[in-house]
């Protein structure tokens, strides 16, 4: 049931965020997911672009103390508020790029191809990459402003983000699937972009939400986690250790499964998809909470609502 709700919300969000601008919908410059401004007519701008540019690290020191600085602060507050409101649910329920990745996963499941499993050690090694990308996203524009980096490193993360090349395809625009031969910097960045895009598509086919392992937006969410109003919470006393939550996790997290003492939940790699809550058949063990109140709690009935065998793939 929860999975179906997520599917519906994801698709609605995709339509709004990808095409909303064409109908006069624009949610501003601080959308906490990959609502890509490279998509003409998008319904809101991914905050990462603004953060690298005109409402963030792209501002000069002088601009920071002026009106533009205030504006940057405004959008930061808007982002923090929006990110806190839904927490990781932005990733699991709203992000259009996440939905594209999920489509690849549904295709893989339909074909019965086994999933690529990353060991815990591998995941631990890959997890810091998102923070490096966040640092790159912040540092790059500063270095450009200081003249230490070529101006074409402007929007340094957007230049290599697979969302830039792949999302515009859904409005018929293929111009970002190109190598940009203008100079060596644009060429290098576009080569990295094409390689990242190709690897993302291939990787996301075999491994659910592979890109999210590296997503700097997730890094931002993790930094803001103490403010999150929507959380996934575990009551370890009710856990029977079956591992269903771990198997259902889009990110192959086993932290939730192995937790025995604290009410941990959506930290680290969690994308707030609620799959763990739906898969857990121990009543009340896992819950999706908002402001401390339970929105959905695990139960045998909810778990049995999942189609597990014969019939169409689980949503």
């Amino acid at each position: 049931m929860l999975g179906n709700v997520r599917l519906a919300v994801q698709h609605l969000s995709f339509v709004i965020l990808m095409y909303g601008g064409r109908f006069g919908v624009h949610l501003g410059s601080a959308v906490p997911c990959f609502s890509c401004p490279y998509v003409y007519g998008c319904g809101g701008n991914c905050y990462l672009m603004g953060l690298q540019g005109y409402i963030g690290f792209g501002l000069t020191w002088a601009q920071l103390w002026g009106y533009q600085g205030l504006r940057a602060l405004f959008w930061l507050v808007v982002f923090a508020a929006a990110a806190s409101l839904l927490g990781k649910l932005w990733c699991g329920f709203v992000c259009p790029f996440g939905l594209v990745s999920d489509w690849l996963t549904y295709l893989r499941r339909f074909l019965g191809v086994a999933s690529l499993r990353l060991s815990r050690a591998a995941r631990a090694r890959l997890a810091p990459v998102k923070y490096f990308l966040l640092a790159w996203l912040a540092l790059g524009p500063v270095l450009v402003n200081l003249g230490l980096l070529h101006p074409d490193f402007y929007l340094p993360f957007c230049q290599i983000c697979p969302g830039k090349s792949l999302l515009p395809l859904f409005e018929g625009e293929a111009k970002y699937l190109t190598l940009e031969l203008t100079n060596s910097v644009t060429l290098s960045l576009s080569v990295v972009l094409m390689a990242a895009s190709g690897l993302t598509v291939a990787g996301s086919f075999f491994r659910e939400r592979l890109f999210c392992v590296f997503c700097p937006m997730l890094a931002l969410f993790n930094l803001l986690r103490p403010l999150a109003l929507a959380r996934i919470v575990k009551d370890p006393g009710l856990c029977q250790g079956c591992g269903a939550c771990s198997r259902s996790c889009m990110m192959d997290m086993d932290e939730l499964w192995l937790e025995r003492e604290h009410d941990s939940g959506d930290d680290g790699e969690c994308l707030g998809c609620g799959g763990c809550v739906e898969a857990c058949s121990s009543r009340g063990c896992l819950s999706l909470k908002f402001l401390g109140g339970t929105v959905v709690g695990s139960s045998p009935e909810l778990a049995r609502g999942l189609r597990t065998g014969g019939g169409r793939a689980r949503g």
């Binding site: 006069g24 624009h26 086994a114 690529l116 190598l179 940009e180 031969l181 203008t182 690897l199």
Partner: protein, 321 residues
């Protein structure tokens, strides 16, 4: 001749510096020196130089086409709409921008008139939300005017983008034959980063039709194309049968290497009967789209995709259940 250009980021109501550059070789003989105008504030139909220069300059500006975002004081609501051309009473507000014609006139020794024009984007001042209705429109002077169009969207003028210039002499002399026939329907041909204009000083000899208007013998007087600091014009273009000049700025390796926001000034100069000149200055950036190679990009994309997928499949070759 002289030319003028606006800085890359101009905001309504803010102090802006417009450089009036009087080309020394032409006017030095007439005693006019190279000068910079001081602060120029666009506060109405007329703008005045706050700091006097050696040359008295008279300015006129108008909104070419305006794209304004509706705010509290507008009934349009959120969205974009097109205001009437020449609605000088409307000041561009926050979130909006407008393409603006700025024109100036100087009188050199002997009463010879020189006109300069530039087209630039004027952005709404941050924080401004109310239109300034105190500005009264002024009648447009009958100065020579260049009408600039392009078949491609004018993000900002770029190399490789084809520009069509129609010269309207006003009451200053002969107009290009056919120039008042209204907008011509030009093919949206864009020879991105078109090379091969008929250049005077450049090395490239390959002619391109759209930079020549049919070659010498085309209608009317030619336009010469200068770059800032170039000692002599780089190109000479002639109007086509419809009286419109077509020009595609060729790629500039310096611009390509410098960055997306770097720009150079291209100055189009048309001689006037009576010895004067009219110029149009464009701030040209490097082409945003010309250097995109789709086949190469797709090649790298698919190589990475197949390579990554292949590695994964190869890694699980032994596992059969």
């Amino acid at each position: 001749m002289f030319w003028l250009a606006a800085p890359p980021l101009s905001r309504a109501g803010e102090a802006s510096i417009y450089i009036l550059d009087l080309a020394p070789p032409e006017l030095a003989k007439s005693g006019l020196a190279r000068a910079e105008a001081g602060l120029v504030v666009l506060a109405g139909g007329r703008a005045a130089a706050a700091k006097a220069s050696d040359v008295a300059a008279e300015f006129f500006w108008s909104l070419r086409t305006a794209y304004l975002r509706g705010g509290d004081d507008h009934d349009a609501g959120v969205g974009y709409y097109q205001a009437a051309s020449g609605a000088a009473g409307t000041v561009v507000t926050a979130g909006g921008y407008s393409s603006v014609d700025l024109r100036a006139r100087v009188v050199a020794g002997g009463g010879v008139e020189h006109f300069a024009q530039t087209v630039f984007n004027l952005y709404g001042r941050e924080g401004s939300s109310a239109a300034d209705d105190s500005l009264a429109p002024v009648p447009a002077p009958a100065w020579p005017l260049f009408e600039l169009t392009s078949p491609e969207p004018l993000y900002w003028p770029q190399t490789g983008q084809t520009f069509f210039l129609k010269f309207i002499p006003g009451d200053r002399g002969d107009r290009t034959v056919g120039a008042d026939d209204g907008a011509s329907d030009h093919d949206a041909v864009s020879d991105h980063d078109g090379a091969g204009a008929k250049t005077i000083v450049a090395d490239n000899d390959a002619p391109a039709d759209n930079n020549n208007g049919g070659g010498p013998g085309g209608r009317g007087l030619p336009l010469t194309v200068w770059e800032e600091d170039s000692p002599a014009p780089l190109f000479e273009i002639w109007a086509g049968a419809d009286g419109v000049y077509a020009f595609t700025p060729p790629a500039d390796p310096g611009l390509d290497a410098a960055g997306a926001t770097s720009a150079k000034k291209l100055i189009f100069v048309r001689a006037l009967p009576g010895g004067g000149t009219a110029s149009l200055t464009l701030l040209v950036h490097r082409s945003r789209e010309a250097r995109r190679d789709l086949p190469l990009g797709l090649g790298v994309f698919f190589l990475a995709m197949l390579g990554g997928g292949g590695l994964i499949v190869a890694g699980r070759r032994g596992a059969r259940y």
